[in-house]
Symmetry: C2
């Protein structure tokens, strides 16, 4: 039976409004507090992970660290997960070329267990989709079952930049996984000046289960030290806009905690 | 022969103006850039370590992490160096009760080697004086010799809060160490309203080799998230003050790089 049917939400427009990259910076955490939406996920290797307080927080499993600063290191010793200065690789390509699945599994377990010391996780997802290499996706699904934490699984792999070589195995894994799949809405790559239009356009969506990913960060000097600060601030300002909030309020709000209880 | 004599600075007032805790936060790094003094040391486990650029940077060896955020983890796997969530212990007491010297040595080596991938270190010192336990002081001195990085060694152990039990062994180690010792000037514990007076009072110092420790940080939301932000901002504002700068300019400026070359 479909998750929405089971939740009594069949035929409705249901929204997981999800704040990515919490714990990465003070600016990211500050936006989470300021916006007041409960759902997001925390980068446990981030310096600010210990300062996130909220009601519906997952583990934003991290295997890459893409800026010179703030930069993150693995919690475990796997040599295939670190560059010469000991940081996570800066790109998915570098990660996928070198990462050994058993070292990934050890690291992701350590992140989940460390997260459980900081807050009560409700779900899993992965920074930059780092677990899309099929053998890492198997690890991701195995850990989701082992820890009883529903994983973010997209309804469709189109438009996610997945290497074509990975697609057949990934499709098979997703089809077999005993977890619901969500329609992803992700404005990250849009120019900031189109951000408000993107959010206002959500009014036209048909019924279904959506996860809207946003990367809101406060407009502070620290927040603006990240090279992609413009897209983060664009999310923050759009989600503070009263007309966007009116449109979001037309969706039924869902949490990962509720999904977890329904499984 | 005395270091100052060898440098041709005998009888002068010589100053190492030292910025502690670089790499810890964006605010700390930003103050370093804004003030323009070359000397400081970098916390390699800090999220912002990779963003410090400067002429006279040391390794601020780190074994404790005293705030909930930003929080730091060891680079190596030593169980005696981490709490249950995997972070460095929050206090010197917790560290000194549990830390195994061989795990400390492995961790500090990793920090020095990771630092060398980020910049060219000129010296060593230790966050919160974490190496004052005598067996850890031996590790510190051994690494200083092995890596040819002069370590910060105080002229006097008085007023540093060293447990009395440690003093006899520490005094012996310091007396034997083949490195110069400096007179420490550290306003960290003074109330912020006394900070300007402290700096202006430096005008009265007699000749000698001084290291003035400061913790300057920018007055930003991220900087003010640290519980001790007031003392950091007090240093920043005092060191930007023209009268303080005039008094500091009366000292002969020294760098750790110059000390390293003279050894």
């Amino acid at each position: 039976m479909d998750l929405l049917e089971r939740l009594g939400l069949g035929g409705r427009r249901v929204l997981l409004l999800h704040h990515d990259d919490l714990g990465l910076s003070h600016a990211q955490n500050g936006a989470y507090q300021a916006l007041g939406f409960p759902t997001g996920s925390v980068m446990v290797p981030g310096a600010w992970a210990g300062a996130v307080r909220g009601e519906d927080l997952g583990v934003h499993l991290t295997l890459t660290s893409e800026w010179p600063a703030p930069r993150m290191r693995p919690l475990t010793g796997g040599e295939s997960l670190r560059d010469e200065a000991g940081y996570f690789p800066a790109s998915l390509e570098a990660l996928w070329q070198r990462a050994r699945a058993e070292e990934v599994e050890r690291e992701l377990k350590a992140q989940i267990e460390a997260a459980s010391r900081l807050f009560r996780p409700t779900h899993l997802d992965a920074h930059q989709g780092a677990v899309l290499r099929p053998d890492l996706a198997e690890v991701y699904l195995r850990l989701a079952q082992a820890y009883r934490l529903p994983p973010l699984l997209p309804q469709s792999l189109e438009g996610l930049g997945v290497p074509p070589l990975f697609l057949p195995d990934l499709e098979r894994l997703l089809a077999q996984a005993p977890f619901p799949r969500v329609r992803l809405l992700d404005p990250y790559g849009l120019p900031p000046e189109e951000r408000l239009g993107f959010y206002l356009g959500l009014a036209a969506l048909p019924p279904g289960l959506y996860q809207l990913l946003h990367h809101s960060a406060l407009p502070t000097p620290e927040g603006r030290a990240l090279p992609d600060w413009r897209t983060r601030e664009a999310d923050y300002f759009a989600l503070a806009h009263p007309e966007v909030r009116r449109i979001l309020a037309e969706f039924h709000p869902l949490t990962w905690g509720a999904i977890r209880e329904a499984l």
